[in-house]
Amino acid sequence: MPEDVEMNDSPAAAAAAASDAPAPAQSTLHHLKEIASVIEAGSLSKEVRRISRAVRLTIALRRRLAARDVAAFLALALSPSSEAFARLSTLVPKEDGSEMDVDMAAPTAQVSIKHGLPEIEIYCYLLVLIFLIDNKKYDEAKTCASASIARLKSLNRRTVDVLASRLYSYYSYVHELTNTLAEIRGTLLALHRMATLHHDELGQETLLNLLLRNYLHYNLYDQAEKLRSKAPRFEAHSNQQFCRYLFYLGKIRTIQLEYTDAKESLLQAARKAPTTARGFRIQCNKWAIIVRLLLGEIPERTVFMQKGMKAALTPYFELTNAVRVGDLELFRSVADKYSSTFSADRTRNLIVRLRHNVIRTGLRNISISYSRISLADIAKKLRLDSENPVADAESIVAKAIRDGAIDATIDHANGWMVSKETGDVYSTNEPQIAFNSRIAFCLNMHNEAVKALRFPPNSHKEKESAEKRRERLQQEEELAKHMAEEDDDDF
């Protein structure tokens, strides 16, 4: 089938006088036709995998799409009388010249592509939408997207789901680029309802992520959390969607001050993301670093030195330095220096929360290194700027003791802080707990190894002859006597 198309195209292309660079144009169109045939095969055999493959091929083709290819493909794939064709061809900008020639090839090639397949129609919508977005024609893209959503509402086929979920993401993307996200929230919610009713799990996943992204764009964290907690959850179909979900979940948890959950989600998202998605991984890492700082642990240097992320993570590296040292002045200067970066990343409020952590870390360092230190000295070391630094230092230390960050007492009369002895850790239950976890791990490993054992195939075991058996028994007797003699020797 593809060969026929190719042969029919080449005379037409050769005859075209005004067509420039016929070979690449032909191969793009050729690829598009291949993709169309894959979709056709997939829909006829109801195999969703082929449709996903077709989508992947399209994405690979994205950069080489030109207006005339799209127009030509539309002419081939859709019957000229359908309203889809009419709508879509108005959206694609016209290029004069080569259109006429390709139209001539159209009648012969039309036989290969069946009309009336809804998948082909939706695929055309998708193709035009991608093309318009890449050429930055956002208004036409919006009309195209809305038209496709209207068309999708009447369809309910598994094979269309893959294409539909891509359409939804581009629909949301184009609105995000033009800053009109708030308008489509109602539509997205209705689509999500529909996907749930149709048991379209991929669509549900995609739409949930799009909705969360929508809410988080406007900082409506409480509404996002309400939606997420009530939406049905299931096994993830697409790795990318799962990564996105984990990232949004991590963000929501950070704002709600549940730092442990947030750290888990964000680190998992950064790990599962494909290595090509560098921007996404950078964002995950930025938030993960801040969450770890807020939890009181310092991320190690290797986190910042990952390939390709060094430049983007530099502000966070300096911030970590300031927190580690416990120096308020340095922290303030770094926060001011990079305030524009932090505002762009929307992490500014989180950085403000870090101030408290800087003081705690500084206090912890002081308490460990001094057995007794006056409150005035503490105030000087922490560089607290206030009218009454000693009194402030006193109350800060009191709060830190209450929260369990440091182990000390304050002697008000003499105005100093006395650190308690760290105490012998071996007299507590700590070693036992550590031992227990290690022992359990080793025993688990042993059990799993035993389960994985397989006996060697011993189908050819020779029967022992009588002689050999006698020999063996004799040897065992001698061994036993030997061991008994040894024991006697010991006494």
Binding site: N219, L220, Y221, D222, I255, Q256, L257, E258, S343, R348, N349, V352, R353, R355, H356, I359, S386, N388, A391, D392, S395, I396, V397, A398, K399, A400, I401, R402, A408, T409, I410, H412, A413, S427, T428, N429, Q432, N436, I439, L443, H446, N447
Partner: protein, 265 residues
């Protein structure tokens, strides 16, 4: 329609007058009438566009602002919370339609402060995220943010200064609640951090104005504090308990080791 709108405008004028004069009963009665009137206005909830939409929304917003102030004055916490929530909805959703109310940041600051004494810090931060960047420079919002920071850091002496320097007279009502929670915090911290404190110092730290109040507080809330030689001992000689061996857990662990080892051998 129009007549409803006019009636509402009139009553609203009376309501603001009553609020300003601290005439609480008539204020409450008027508020009830106004809420009934609100149900008759066509553009709430905004399901369809009506010509008077802008006017009606503005009036509704002003009604809720006054409701908040009124509930503060009569010290009704639930009504205060409810009205603030409804007012917040107006602020979030109508900024596209018409200009911000001049009192918006004041009320948003009130909302933030309401969450502090109840220790709902996560909601505090979620609310903070809603605010656009320039809001953080407004005195009311900055006040709330700095208050929360002092709370977290533990610089309670600064909090005392804060209580004096309120940016707005409506905030005064919330201040007593905040002062109480600050006092509880200080008590908690002092109990852990100090073994004993001289009475005068303790009184100053807990922000009591007279010794009599102080001793009343001790006898009511903290019966286990002892007063010896003009100083308060917080801990009655607490016997340092030996680490209780969680014997049950240890036995269970040893038994499981024995079981696993048997299987190997």
């Amino acid at each position: 329609m129009d007549s409803g709108l006019e009636e509402a405008t009139q009553k609203l004028a009376w309501l603001s007058f009553a609020c300003a004069r601290d005439d609480l009963e008539s204020g409450v009665a008027l508020l009830a009438e106004l809420k009934v009137l609100l149900t008759r206005l066509h553009s709430l909830p905004p399901l369809e566009k009506t010509p008077n939409a802008v006017e009606e929304l503005k009036i509704a917003r002003t009604i809720y602002e006054n409701a908040v102030i009124l509930s503060l004055k009569i010290k009704d916490d639930e009504a205060f919370g409810r009205n603030l929530c409804q007012l917040k909805e107006f602020y979030i959703n109508t900024w596209l339609v018409f200009a911000r109310s001049p009192y918006e940041y004041q009320f948003l600051g009130l909302n933030l402060l309401r969450l502090l004494p109840e220790n709902r810090i996560s909601e505090f931060h979620t609310e903070l995220e809603h605010l656009p960047l320039e809001a953080l420079n407004h005195p009311c919002i900055k006040y709330a943010v700095e208050l929360e920071q002092s709370f977290m850091e533990g610089t309670y002496k600064q909090l005392a200064n804060f209580c004096q320097a309120v940016p707005n007279e409506t905030y005064v009502y919330l201040m007593d609640r905040i002062a109480e929670s600050v006092r509880d915090e200080i008590v908690d911290c002092s109990v852990e951090a100090y073994d004993y404190l001289p009475v005068s110092v303790a009184k100053k730290m807990l922000m009591f104005t007279s010794y009599r109040e102080f001793f009343e507080y001790i006898s009511e809330e903290q019966p286990e504090w002892e007063i010896k030689n003009c100083s308060i001992h917080f801990h009655m000689a607490k016997p340092k308990s030996h680490m209780d061996l969680s014997s049950f857990k240890l036995i269970k662990q040893a038994l499981s080791y024995a079981q696993e080892l048997e299987q190997i051998v």
